[in-house]
């Protein structure tokens, strides 16, 4: 070992990375060394050496129902011998002697220890842990008992969502956890991650929560759901304080599965799902389109565009090449695309070594063939009790992911799709491509992303023998990610038709570039995280003391390199085969680095598990800021009182199993804006300008620097209540929270003229508050031993208010337009009074006097009339007012009933959102795009209460002003997921020598109730409104444990 220490000292001058790598090696080597040393030292368990071995058998049942319990861990205390109960609740175990005790443990039940004595049959009845008295919850840098926690924390057991057909874990959280506001705005494979806002939006800057996987900051959305044990949401200051500058937006803690003591278990999990878009816009057919165009021309006093002959042709479809009736959405989007997932996991272990391995495969088809995602996940874990006082854990989580897309961007395809009018064919009757989106999807080349990621982690924990309760732990995690991008763009052939010739002539043409081009790039990201901690836990009489001190440092490095060639003469997608002309070759590259470090502390004290106190926090530093401004201190305090432990409750209210009130206050931080804003510098770019016929570089000034720039600071308060009543019949957890976020980056509160000519650096001057309530309720009722009903529900309401932001006098001085005092993202515009009606005009067609003048051209009956808020007789910017809420909902709720009867089980999740406003499209023929069926409901003298204004060949400027007319209520309720499963009775599985078989049918986004027409309520409106749709999935699956 001496050499290792020498090497540690000798490399101090080298780079930190090398040092860390060395440390990994050292830890690995010491681990192996210890393993072998330990194995050498303790050979007692060898049965040959022990003649007194005894075989113990028995059945483990539920104390309440008498039902056998499957998968209970049975371990001989103090040895490595253990097993689990089978499908009939039976176990048998050979123990070294009769003086040992057996420990029976099972999730959701109180563990029991029974001495073997002279018995060979030990039947045990376990009591279910209704009050979850023994439940352990993952918290920042550790675990705590659920009952003694004083912070606001919610946990989701991922088992519940692993069988629902979702490719991306992000999308499994909505409606499951109190305090999580979310919005999934795309269904595109690989790009469909929902935005998650813990307790809503509390900042005008980034609102992304910190995601921590197995203690290390990492992304989780592409992990295999099957390999995840729990997802925990840390919400209040007491919970997030250990994360310092990264914690203000809340923290998601992901805990992946590890091996458990017991016989090896092999489990298969898999499903096949069929995906279809949830909601698609309904577009008109060719005849309706032509009719609508003619109506528009008539309105404008122009001759009709389509003759009666053409109308008839569009109607009868007798000449589809010249008079098409196409539906690009239906023709281009495939139906029932497949989503497949398979997973095999093996786990088991003894007291000394536990192992877990999992391989997952996911295959997700897109709505068109070129869009596809394949993902392979591998998860390996090893936990070793190296010596009596030393634990070592080792984990590798690898991911290989391949996403393919058409070479033309998805947004562009959806934009093109809106230009695919029904009167033009998507393909001619001979199969030739006739529409841009068709070629863009199917023959534009490809754009591939290959991601390889390995999350590696090693930790060693050492109890200090001479101080009871003290342990030290060191963890090193190194996570390299490599993305390989390859985009091959080929000329898109597009045929057109010459109808003047007989037979019709089809002419080949090229849309876009004439020759192929290739771009390949590599981005490499590494994260090195490093933690060392000191943990002290001691029970002294009725006093429980816990102390954690942890140091963490994190370094991220990024590197990009790209090369491309254009004008391929040969259509082979290799860089080397591209044009050799220097003008056709280009490359680019960049790199960056991030550094962060912090010192975490947590001290907990409780008296008799009744009065709970905790102080935690972090002294945190980041590379973002100027020297001297890099470190900040983020403390939190919390208290709890377990009333249910008081005698007056115990004696008088026996129906109260657990009752706790708790409160917390603390501060945490958030990085905002971008790094180096403290510097006032110039940026080099190129090419800038042509001098002497050559392109040259340029230097451009950045914004004015602000040396005092610092982090956002969040002051969070929370009051919560937890209760378990009537032996689990009712579980309640409710919280009120209040956060004041200050130091948000805003334009400085000085007005400089536009003539100033340069953007001012931002200043830490924004303040906003965010408050709300959240609660979750669950109820479990066992009607008989075969019939159980569970009902869960959660509700989150978070409303923010801007208290201080940058505003010009124009908005601030107008109470209708003032941003301060309103929620972030509130939507402003004119207030619609409906349509101008014929009665608003005099005989000569002029607006009657007294009606406010609208400045966007002459108005006609059927145009939108706006409210003259200030009554000055003119509609202008002074009449703008708040017309709606933000896009992100303020309320999210979930209701999850579950019924189990014998082997049948039905799990439902209804999820809803409210208090959100979505801005709609702005009328027929907007930018000459396709027309919705709804657009046919337009204003005419006979239809004065129409959905849309009078029809014109492009929307009148008057009618496209931002106004309440086009604003829609974004509230919705959807059957987010539903699973119906059947577990094959154990007497059948027993015969098959299989522990457990479960068959299930599952669905995602099955039914949606919304007032919104044509679009999914979660999709963000982009230009024209069409976007990659959310998917409705129905799947069948199988779950087998051998």
């Amino acid at each position: 070992m001496k050499e290792f220490f020498l090497s540690v000292f000798s490399i101090r001058k080298k780079s930190k990375i090398l040092l860390y790598l060395n440390l990994i090696v050292i830890l690995l080597v010491s681990l192996t060394f210890n393993l072998s040393a330990a194995g050498f030292g303790e050979g007692k368990s060898n049965p040959i050496d022990n003649p007194q071995k005894v075989m113990v058998k028995g059945t483990v049942t539920d104390a309440n129902t008498g039902e056998p319990l499957i998968g209970v861990n049975v371990v001989a205390v103090g040895t490595t011998i253990g097993t689990t109960t089978d499908a009939l609740g039976k176990y048998s175990l050979e123990v070294p002697n009769t003086s040992v005790s057996l420990q029976f443990s099972f999730i959701g039940y109180l563990a029991q220890e029974v001495a073997v004595g002279g018995q060979t049959t030990l039947n045990v009845a376990l009591t279910s842990d209704v009050a979850q008295l023994s439940e352990v919850v993952v918290v920042g840098y550790g675990t705590q008992k659920k009952t003694s926690i004083t912070a606001a924390v919610s946990t989701l057991e991922v088992k519940k969502i692993a069988t629902t057909p979702i490719a991306n874990l992000n999308n499994g959280l909505g409606g499951r956890l109190a305090g999580v506001i979310f919005r999934q705005n795309s269904g595109e494979p690989g790009k469909d991650a929902a935005a998650i806002y813990i307790r809503g939006i509390s900042s005008i800057g980034s609102t992304k929560p910190l995601v921590v996987v197995d203690g290390i900051p990492r992304d989780f959305k592409d992990l295999d759901p099957n390999s995840i044990e729990t997802i925990t949401v840390l919400k209040d200051a007491a919970a997030v304080a250990p994360y310092g500058v990264a914690g203000a937006n809340g923290v998601l803690l992901i805990t992946t599965k590890r091996g458990k003591t017991g016989a090896p278990l092999l489990t298969y999990n898999g499903y096949v799902g069929f995906q279809n878009p949830t909601i698609l816009p309904k577009y008109v057919n060719a005849y309706q389109y032509a009719t609508l165009r003619n109506a528009a021309s008539l309105n404008e006093g122009n001759p009709p565009r389509f003759s009666a002959y053409a109308l008839q042709k569009y109607k009868d479809g007798s000449n589809p090449d010249a008079y098409a009736n196409s539906d690009a959405v239906a023709e281009l989007m495939q139906k029932n695309t497949l989503l497949t997932s398979h997973n095999i996991e093996v786990s088991g272990g003894t007291d000394r070594i536990k192992y877990y391995g999992s391989i997952g495969y996911l295959d997700e088809a897109g709505i068109w063939k070129p869009t596809h995602q394949k993902r392979y996940n591998l998860d390996l874990k090893l936990d070793a009790q190296v010596t009596k006082t030393t634990k070592a854990s080792f984990a590798i989580n690898g991911r290989q992911q391949k996403n393919t897309y058409p070479a033309i961007g998805t947004d562009r395809i959806f934009e093109l799709m809106q230009y695919a009018l029904p009167i033009y064919p998507v393909r001619f009757s001979n199969g030739l491509n006739a529409a841009y989106p068709y070629g863009s999807i199917y023959s534009s080349g490809y754009s591939n992303v290959n991601t390889s990621q390995i999350l590696t982690q090693l930790s060693v924990e050492q109890e200090i023998p001479f101080i009871k309760g003290l342990s030290l732990k060191g963890t090193v995690a190194y996570d390299p990610t490599v993305n390989l991008y390859k985009t091959w763009i080929t000329p898109v052939h597009l045929w057109s038709i010459d109808t003047t010739k007989t037979p019709y002539q089809y002419i080949d043409g090229i849309f876009g570039q004439n020759k192929s081009s290739l771009t390949q790039s590599i981005s490499n990201a590494t994260q090195l995280t490093f933690q060392a901690s000191l943990n002290y836990n001691r029970k002294l009489g009725n006093n429980n003391i816990g102390v954690l001190i942890l140091f963490e440092s994190k370094t991220n490095n990024y590197l990009n390199f790209a090369a491309s060639r254009i004008n391929y003469n040969l259509d082979l997608d290799e860089l080397d085969l591209g044009s050799s002309s220097l003008a056709d070759i280009s490359n680019s590259g960049s790199s960056s680095e991030e550094k962060q470090m912090g010192l975490v502390y947590r001290a907990t004290y409780d008296y008799n598990s009744k009065y709970l106190f905790e102080a935690s926090g972090r002294y945190d530093g980041s590379y973002y800021f100027a020297p001297g401004h890099r470190f900040g201190f983020f403390p939190a305090f919390s208290v709890g009182w377990r009333l249910s432990e008081e005698n007056f409750i115990k004696q008088n209210f026996s129906w109260i199993d657990n009752l706790k009130i708790r409160g917390s206050y603390g501060e945490s931080g958030a990085l905002a804006g971008s790094p180096f804003q403290y510097l006032s510098t110039y940026k080099v770019f190129g090419p800038a300008y042509v001098i002497g016929g050559n392109v040259t570089q340029g230097i451009t000034p950045n914004i004015e620097g602000n040396p005092n720039i610092t982090w956002e600071r969040a002051k969070k308060s929370d009051i919560g209540l937890e209760a378990t009543l009537w032996k689990g019949l009712l579980n309640i957890e409710a919280d009120y929270f209040y956060e004041k976020r200050s130091n948000m980056l805003v334009s400085p509160n000085v007005v400089v003229p536009k003539e100033y000519g340069i953007s001012l650096s931002q200043a830490n001057a924004g303040i906003m508050k965010n408050q709300g309530i959240e609660f979750s309720v669950s109820s479990f009722y066992r009607i008989s031993k075969d019939f159980e009903v569970t009902l869960g529900g959660n509700f989150t309401y978070a409303k923010n208010t801007l208290l201080q932001v940058f505003e010009t006098a124009t908005t601030y001085d107008n109470p209708n337009r003032r941003l301060t005092g309103r929620p972030l993202g509130s939507q402003f515009g004119f207030e619609s009074l409906g349509f101008f009606q014929l009665s608003d005009f005099d005989a000569s067609g002029n607006l009657k006097s007294g009606i406010a003048v609208q400045p966007w051209g002459t108005v006609h009956p059927g145009d939108i009339r706006y409210k003259d808020i200030n009554g000055d007789g003119n509609i202008n910017n002074d009449d703008i007012t708040q017309i709606g809420d933000a896009q992100t909902p303020q309320i999210i709720y979930g209701i999850s009933p579950n019924v189990r009867y014998k082997g049948f089980s039905l799990d439902l999740l209804f999820q809803g959102a409210a208090k959100a406003s979505l801005y709609g499209n702005s009328g027929a023929f907007f930018n000459n795009m396709n027309v919705l069926v709804d657009d046919m409901n337009y204003w005419t003298p006979e239809n004065t209460n129409a959905l849309n204004p009078r029809i014109t060949n492009s929307p009148a400027l008057n009618n496209t002003q931002t106004s309440s007319f086009w604003l829609r209520n974004g509230a919705y309720l959807r059957l987010k997921s539903a699973t119906f499963s059947y577990t094959v009775p154990s007497n059948i599985t027993q015969k098959l020598k299989i522990q457990n078989i479960r068959i299930f049918v599952s669905g995602q986004n099955l039914i949606t109730w919304t007032k919104l027409r044509n679009y999914d309520p979660e999709i963000v409106y982009t230009w024209g409104g069409l976007n990659y749709p959310q998917q409705k999935v129905v799947s069948i699956g199988l779950n087998v444990t051998f």
Partner: protein, 554 residues
């Protein structure tokens, strides 16, 4: 064995403690990250080559049809606001907003961004003046920057009239409320621009590196501003001395003797003829780089060989077509011209065929049909609802058929800001207004005509006849070079030309013969109010500087 265990334990303990210790060591320093690709103030102004890169960044902002010329978008150049052209796409700003003159201070055209370029100029002047770089270099570069600043102010002046003149770097820390400037008058801005130019002209080289400011460019800019200042919009009393001044400055350019007319007008705008003898100042483009020029598909015929390959975003109007002379040099209004309204495209002057695609023209080896009933998708858009032409014509000028359709940055042609033909026409106009027709005027205008194969103007024209001839020549020669809209403004004839409807040529076939009818162009209605001679000051600028006063009527 127990000994070993303890030994190992204590080593692990030690190791972890060691790790923790190392972590705490030199925290502040270990957070130091050097941002790459950023340069400090010091290093820029101490090096000529670095300062030159900053200057390149100022040059980058030169107006260009692809980027900034019209303050809106490359697809909708200012030409579409004039009576020369209509956008074939009916939802572009020129059609929906500018045609109806319903723009407001919050609307699209916003030229206030020039103040960002002006700040860069002021910064360069301040820093370089204070630097210890060598004086010759300094003098040269400062001259260039002052030229650019004058050019940027000119862009503001022609669009807004009076604007704040700011010649130092505004600094909110040291200048306090002094950073808020009121608008200077239009005359003050004009004086500032021309004084600046007059001051630097002696120091400018005649033949600098291409792309850099030259003596000719500065004179051309000065002459243009003087012409604008002499025109009816700015010179209601018709002060003849202003015209004389403009004539003199433009004559200075002619007297330099380095510029002449390039013999072949159509290819003047193609990449092989950049920096020709006619080019006075141009913004450079290099094909295949991010500095490639305008993609031609935005402007060209929508359907070529049946395939959708352009947007037709600039289509010539009948008004413009009627301005082209006959090949014999006579305007079509002249009874002796031989113009046949039922065969209107026969025997027209060369520039007509070089500029306009009409019914039966060949483009990219395809015959373009616009007649009603042809079945072609390029047919005149009578119902005003497709992207094809609403006038019956398409643009040819400046579009290079050798370039791929719908593919950006392959165009290596420069964007010409000033060329010699404009100087000749500027001179002719100014001189005629100042003192009536004289041989030098005939000489200037006839040079332009001769290049396109036209005979000289008939002698003995009156001042008014000459004015008509010059304006027609100017309109035809400089069509689609973003001059017409400004000419309509400065001649104060926009009210006359842009109230009513633009016109289209409807062609039908009767008994196998084309029948030509001039009709109001579908969607070609135009409105123009007196207030529209200047743009409204952008509301965003008004909001942030209470000293600014809005232009009347907005």
């Amino acid at each position: 064995m127990k000994n070993i265990t303890i030994n190992v334990n204590s080593k692990i303990t030690l190791l972890i403690l060691l790790i923790m210790m190392m972590g705490f060591a030199s925290c502040e320093k270990s957070l130091e990250v050097i941002p790459k690709a950023q340069i400090s103030d010091v290093s820029i102004w101490n090096s000529k080559s670095n300062a030159d890169l900053f200057l390149n960044n100022i040059y980058k902002d030169l107006p260009d049809v692809t980027v900034w010329r019209q303050g809106t978008s490359a697809e909708d150049p200012e030409e579409n606001f004039s009576d020369n052209s209509m956008n074939g796409v009916d939802w572009r700003n020129s059609r929906t907003i500018y045609a109806k003159s319903i723009y407001t201070p919050s609307d699209y055209i916003n030229h206030w961004f020039w103040y960002s370029s002006i700040r860069n100029c002021n910064l360069f002047i301040e820093k370089v003046t204070a630097s210890s770089l060598d004086d010759t270099w300094k003098k040269g570069r400062l001259t260039e920057v002052r030229f650019l600043r004058a050019l940027f102010y000119q862009m503001l002046w022609i669009h807004y009239g009076g604007v704040p003149i700011i010649t130092n770097v505004l600094d909110r820390y040291t200048q306090g409320d002094a950073i808020f400037y009121a608008r200077n008058t239009s005359d003050e801005v004009f004086k500032f621009i021309t004084d600046e130019l007059a001051a630097i002209i002696p120091d400018l080289p005649i033949k600098p590196e291409t792309g850099r400011a030259s003596l000719g460019a500065a004179l051309a800019l000065k002459g243009w501003c003087e012409l604008f200042q002499a025109s009816p919009l700015k010179n209601p009393a018709n002060d003849k001395s202003r015209w004389a001044l403009a004539a003199a400055t433009n004559q200075n350019v002619m007297d330099l003797g380095v510029y002449s007319l390039f013999p072949d007008l159509p290819t003047l705008f193609f990449s092989e003829n950049k920096n020709s003898v006619e080019t006075i100042f141009a913004k450079g483009h290099v094909a295949g780089t991010a500095l490639g020029g305008l993609a031609i598909h935005e402007l060209q015929v929508p359907y070529v060989r049946g395939l959708y390959s352009g947007n037709g975003e600039e289509t010539p109007t009948q008004e413009l077509v009627d301005e082209y002379a006959m090949a014999n040099g006579l305007p079509i209004t002249d009874p002796a011209s031989g113009y046949d309204p039922q065969n209107p495209y026969l025997n027209r002057e060369k520039r007509f065929y070089q500029t306009v695609i009409y019914n039966g023209s060949v483009w990219r080896e395809d015959t373009i049909w616009t007649w009603v009933g042809s079945g072609s998708k390029n047919t005149l858009d009578l119902a005003n609802n497709s992207e094809t032409s609403n006038t019956g014509y398409f643009l040819r000028k400046g579009l290079d058929v050798r370039l791929a359709v719908n593919w950006y940055q392959t165009n290596g042609a420069d964007y010409i800001i000033f060329r010699y033909a404009e100087i000749l026409l500027n001179y002719a106009e100014a001189k005629n207004e100042a003192s009536g027709p004289d041989p030098s005027i005939y000489d200037a205008i006839n040079k332009v005509r001769a290049r396109s194969g036209l005979t000289g103007l008939p002698s003995g024209l009156s001042q008014d006849q000459m004015r008509v001839a010059i304006r027609r020549e100017r309109r035809v020669e400089l069509a689609f070079e973003e001059k017409r809209w400004l000419d309509l403004l400065r001649w104060k004839i926009a009210e006359e030309k842009l109230n009513g409807s633009l016109h289209a040529m409807e062609i039908t076939k009767v008994n196998g013969h084309f029948v030509y009818t001039v009709i109001p162009a579908p969607g070609g209605e135009r409105l123009f109010y007196p207030k529209n001679y200047v743009l409204p000051i952008p509301q965003s600028a008004m909001d942030q500087n209470t000293k600014l006063v809005q232009n009347p009527g907005y």
